[in-house]
């Protein structure tokens, strides 16, 4: 309705709150319905959690965490768990980087006219590896690899290779193409074109992605042990199961410390790489 040159403004009603023609209104309604249905269908124990009694018992529970256990033999065990978790995360990430590059090559189209026959299948494999969370992989791999950090390392490697493979493939596809084209004109085969022209260009990006995933994997590695994959997670689940809360507190502190250490190491490595 055009504004007319009338003495007074045409009287307009304020817009309706819910207009059947407006798509955003339907979305909003859908979200509200989802939220209400979620709360209603779950049997959340509000009373148990929010009552005074519950809060008091929670306070007592939290108090059990202090003081954290600091006896030497236990600290040695925690130290060993830290080493195991650290090794799991680092080795898992390295294996994932290798597997990721191996899968990224068929999954990327290197130049116009590259048939890239395996691209679809490779991308599908990478998506499948990526979609399954590390913990689920660990639970499945425990069957084959048994309890211990081996299953955890493999789980991290498999999941992260899906993530890194996809990131690597995108980096390779986005790299400038002139150097590779110049080598191809000379009749050089694809693997060597990759090594001499594409890889030098994308290597910093690949390493940056790998470091980023290592920071993520140290967090994942600390909890994989909960299902039995070794490291700090296994210690945590063990002592929590026995209600030994001060030992649990030490393990938790060790987890946070380990994550901070790896974050710092990754930051340092990034600085060193871009000097």
């Amino acid at each position: 309705m055009r504004a007319r040159d009338a003495a007074n403004q045409t009287y307009r009603l304020p817009p309706r709150i819910f207009d059947a023609r407006c798509r955003a209104c339907w979305y909003a309604l859908g979200i509200v319905v989802l939220i209400v249905a979620s709360f209603w269908s779950l049997d959340l124990q509000w009373a148990q959690f929010l009552s005074l009694q519950a809060l008091a018992s929670m306070a007592r529970f939290v108090a059990e965490f202090f003081p954290p256990e600091t006896s030497a033999p236990f600290l040695a065990k925690v130290g060993q768990g830290m080493v195991e978790t650290f090794a799991m995360s680092l080795l898992g990430t390295l294996l994932a980087a290798v597997l990721g590059i191996v899968l990224a090559l068929p999954a990327s189209r290197m130049h116009e006219g590259d048939p890239a026959r395996l691209r679809g299948a490779a991308r599908l494999l990478l998506n499948a590896l990526r979609a399954i969370p590390e913990l689920v992989w660990a639970a499945l791999l425990l069957v084959a690899a048994g309890l211990g950090p081996f299953a955890g390392t493999l789980a991290l490697a498999l999941h992260t290779s899906g993530v890194l493979g996809r990131l690597f493939a995108e980096a390779i596809e986005n790299a400038p193409r002139e150097p590779a084209a110049a080598l191809r004109v000379q009749g050089i085969d694809a693997p060597r074109v990759f090594l001499y022209a594409t890889l030098p260009q994308v290597l910093p990006q690949l390493m940056s992605y790998t470091l980023y995933r290592w920071e993520n994997n140290i967090r994942a590695a600390t909890i994989l042990g909960v299902v039995g994959a070794g490291g700090l997670g296994q210690l945590l689940a063990f002592h929590m199961g026995l209600f030994q809360m001060n030992k649990t507190a030490t393990v938790l502190a060790a987890m946070l410390l380990l994550v901070a250490l790896v974050d710092a190491a990754s930051f340092g490595l990034r600085r060193w790489m871009t000097r």
């Binding site: 798509r23 955003a24 979305y27 989802l34 939220i35 249905a37 979620s38 709360f39 269908s41 779950l42 049997d43 959340l44 124990q45 148990q48 959690f49 519950a54 018992s57 929670m58 529970f61 080493v83 195991e84 650290f86 090794a87 799991m88 680092l90 080795l91 390295l94 499948a128 979609a131 399954i132 969370p133 913990l135 689920v136 639970a139 499945l140 425990l142 069957v143 084959a144 690899a145 048994g146 211990g148 950090p149 081996f150 955890g152 390392t153 967090r219 600390t222 909890i223 909960v226 299902v227 070794g230 997670g233 945590l236 689940a237 929590m240 209600f243 938790l252 987890m255 946070l256 994550v259």
Partner: protein, 277 residues
Amino acid sequence: MDAALPHPALRDPAWRGRVVLMLTVAVLLWPLFVATEFKPWTLLAPESLRVSAGFLASFFPPAHGGDFLLLVARETWRTVAIATAGIVLALFVAVPMALLVTRTLSVSALSGRMARGPFWLRQGVRWLLVLLRSVPELVWALVFVRVVGLGATPGVLAIALTYGGMLGKVYAEILESGEAAPTTALLRNGSSRLQAFCYGLLPQNAAELTSYTVYRWECAIRSSVVLGFVGAGGLGQQMDNSVKMFAGGEVATMLIVFIALVALADRVSAGLRRALA
């Protein structure tokens, strides 16, 4: 024309560094293999091979009995419900904290530097957000299972706390990254902080805030499956049970359902975010 150069000038200067690097890597790599008990040949030991082959073989065909599919559907809904409820509660944590942390809403900063008290309050809340984010949600879930018992509640609370930390941090970043002028103008003219937020910051950033929240909801669905492994119910718990019982067919079905769920949530989330943009 240059005279013949002595041979040393033609040696690759980077060679030494590379050799040292490769040796260091090799030396550091060995303890990693030892510490993680990395023995890939054990996978191929006949005993282990029989177990894994049997397990893998039991994946086909995926279980498709009517009762089981109904169970999977119920548990999938439960997973989505836990994620949604967790995110809603996370908002209750994140929004107040983000408002507390945002420097744009600081009244004392209107006249130059922020006063001591508010500054340390903001730092404190920031550290609290970092703490909430750093503790893995699985750990929160384990703790809450002790307190509240098995069921959906520990999962919802774990997601609420962790995602509250994540959302709080990102909300604060989004709020601080926009233009501060409209909000400061409102504060200067005497409106309260909440008013300044609702009339200044919120309209400016609503789309980005909602978009990020929807994206996090999709991540929460993945998290809630993982939390199921420690007893928070949903698809994860069923998968845990099936794996322990070596029921490969059931695991296969649930994996397929999980991947489909994640893809669907991804689609919905992308669509919602596009509609908001």
